[in-house]
Amino acid sequence: MGVSAIDVRAAINQPSIFRLVQRKIFNSAGWGLCGLTFLLLGSAMVWILKMVFVRGAGALNLKVLTHIQIGVAGGLLNAIEGTLVLGVGGLILSVPPGIAAGIYLSEYDGGWLAPVLRFMSDVLVGVPSIVVGYFGYVTMVATLGWGFSVAAGSIALAMISLPYITRTSEVAFRQVPRTLREAGFGLGCKPGTVIMRICLPMATPAILTGVLLALAISVGETAPLIYTAGWSSFLWTGHLTKEPMGYLTYAIWAMITEPQRSAHQLAYAAAFLVTLFVLVISVIARVVTFRRSGWGQHA
């Protein structure tokens, strides 16, 4: 035993200058390192944004927004349209069951079904999106014979956004004050009326945040769409099956590997549009959250 109890007590009672300096250094170095990690992440973000927006802005012009793609040149109108149609299609399919699941998890938490559904929804978040795409290809595109289509692409996107909407809807309903429900029941309303007429309006802004985030995720997805929506360089003629659909993320992936400059321009323009869209949605969603929980208090 090299260190006796007396030594330890001495060290505590009479802190040496050395020890104090050591602690000071540890303190500053600690904060310094933490600041550095933040700086690293921040500069990576700046780097990505700079690349996308500087090169993207250089590639963007009116023609990109108003013309369809012709080979490796032309515009992105077909892809912009496809991204919107698929994104909205995915939402139409995922919002009703998502909100229903959210309501169930929040309002009927007592039974066996709610915990099971919650766990499954959380696990579904973790299913890789390409697995969903593969599933969609074999079942809808090939076996059911829908071909590459809006229907197959929208269903694949809906499967991906469903658990997100479920989760945010549950949280939204849980945030509705209990007293409001009690007031409703006190007036003799049925559970359905209380939930749909009292809780739902209250929860709408928070649900909307979740829906917006789901839309952002859908817009940014590529892997589940490659084998379900396919690709088309023309505008949609309104068929749900048998008609493939273009979308911006595919244009990024397919065009950046082409050797021509015009193709690269399209890829950067598409990246600009996708990133801008996703960031704007994120900002809107965040602002909605701030409004509800108060500026600066957000944890």
């Binding site: 012709i70 080979g71 490796v72 349209e81 919107l84 149609v85 909205v88 299609g89 939402l91 595109v141 090939a142 014979g145 071909g147 590459f148 945030q175 004050p177 309006p201 209250m202 709408t204 802004p205 909307l208 396919g230 690709w231 088309s232 360089s233 023309f234 505008l235 949609w236 003629t237 309104g238 068929h239 008609e243 493939p244 397919a254 590997t257 082409e258 050797p259 021509q260 509800r292 929980s293």
Partner: protein
């Protein structure tokens, strides 16, 4: 967390407005359907080697036939074959013909040659890219199977007397997607190197031997990018990407042909090879043009195929396809020099045009 009633109303109003905007977007998108009753949609997918040619064809053809909308997609010949068999794409573009097993199982599928293409072997060896290195099938087989690992290997040196080869590891690049380029490249290796034929053989996807550092790339464009970005690499690339190769000052190899001569890819060597092989084309046009005899023959040339089903879902689609293909193979149509020269393809000889037309007429 508590709202006044007013703010609550305001918020739900706003949400309805957002919903309305989204619905409007969808409605506008759907409105196109009303104007497009007679439109025929054709999806062309597959070979990245054929993709640049389709991109030249389609805008011109669209001028003549505004109601036929052809989407082009560069995905690899494997995709072209499998998606046209599945009926997902109407035109499967492929550098490879259907396998015998596929032909038997899907007797309604045809391979229709549209033009004659060829393949380059390119390398990125700093200091040597201005030269045309001599390479042979057995040496390439050695490189791609990992037996030849260094640029200054004596087997490469033997083919290139007087060239100072660098002492650097070779990075072989192969296609990871199912690819007609892989098909014709591995046919060249198989026909010239018995040990390759007996072990790996040929196909649109083969089990590439593990070469440490070897890269996989998607599509010809991916091959070009991987090649230009990786010094000391080597790649097989379709001739329609020749312009990109030249722009980046990559090296192009002279390949050993069946007669043991090292030949560069030129219109003359391609037509010499075609002259030797084209007469062997059978009725169904599934034939390899690889490793032609003759002193001037370039060893890797091939038909660019459209993989098409004889039975189309509608008479309109069938008619549109017949018309398009008939135009595409004609010397005053799609096989005109203004389309083929930019992609360095050779036109179909008259005898093959006849065979192709006979197949095209079967599309119903």
């Amino acid at each position: 967390m508590r709202f006044g009633r007013k703010s609550m109303e305001k918020k739900s109003n706003r949400s309805f407005r957002k919903g309305a905007v989204l619905a409007l977007a969808l409605a506008v998108a759907g409105a196109g359907s009303a104007f497009a009753a007679a439109q025929i949609n054709i999806l062309e997918t597959g070979s990245s080697l054929l993709y640049p040619l389709f991109n030249l064809w389609v805008p011109s053809y669209a001028h003549m036939h505004p109601n036929v909308k052809i989407t082009t997609q560069s995905t690899g010949s494997g995709t072209g074959i499998s998606q046209s068999i599945a009926g997902i794409a109407q035109i499967g573009a492929s550098d490879a013909y259907l396998s015998p097993a596929q032909m038997r199982m899907h007797s309604n599928m045809m391979n229709i040659p549209l033009a004659i293409s060829s393949q380059m072997v390119n390398y990125n060896v700093p200091g040597l890219n201005y030269k045309h290195l001599n390479l042979s099938g057995p040496v390439l087989a050695g490189i791609y199977s990992g037996k030849i690992r260094n640029w200054n290997d004596e087997q490469i040196a033997k083919l290139n007397p007087g060239v100072k080869l660098p002492n650097h590891t070779i990075i072989p690049i192969h296609r990871t997607d199912g690819s007609g380029d892989t098909f014709i490249f591995t046919q060249y290796l198989s026909f010239s190197t018995p040990s390759w034929a007996n072990s790996l053989a040929y196909g649109t996807s083969i089990s590439w031997p593990a070469v440490p550092g070897g890269l996989g790339a998607v599509g010809n464009p991916g091959m070009v990018t991987a090649l230009t970005g990786s010094p000391y690499s080597i790649a097989y690339i379709g001739v329609s990407y020749r312009q990109a190769i030249d722009q980046h000052h990559m090296g192009t190899a002279a390949l050993e042909n069946r007669d043991g001569k090292f030949v560069l890819l030129t219109p003359h060597t391609v037509s010499s090879a075609a002259a030797q092989m084209v007469p062997k084309t059978p009725q169904n046009e599934a034939v390899s043009l690889i490793f032609a005899p003759g002193p001037d023959s370039y060893p890797i040339i091939n038909y660019e195929y459209a993989i098409v089903s004889k039975t189309q879902p509608s008479a309109e689609t069938a008619a549109a396809l017949r018309e398009f293909f008939s135009w595409a193979i004609r010397g005053d149509g799609g096989n005109a020099p203004k389309y083929l020269n930019p992609v360095h393809f050779a036109p179909l000889p008259p005898s093959v045009v006849k065979l192709s037309q006979a197949q095209i007429d079967q599309i119903q």
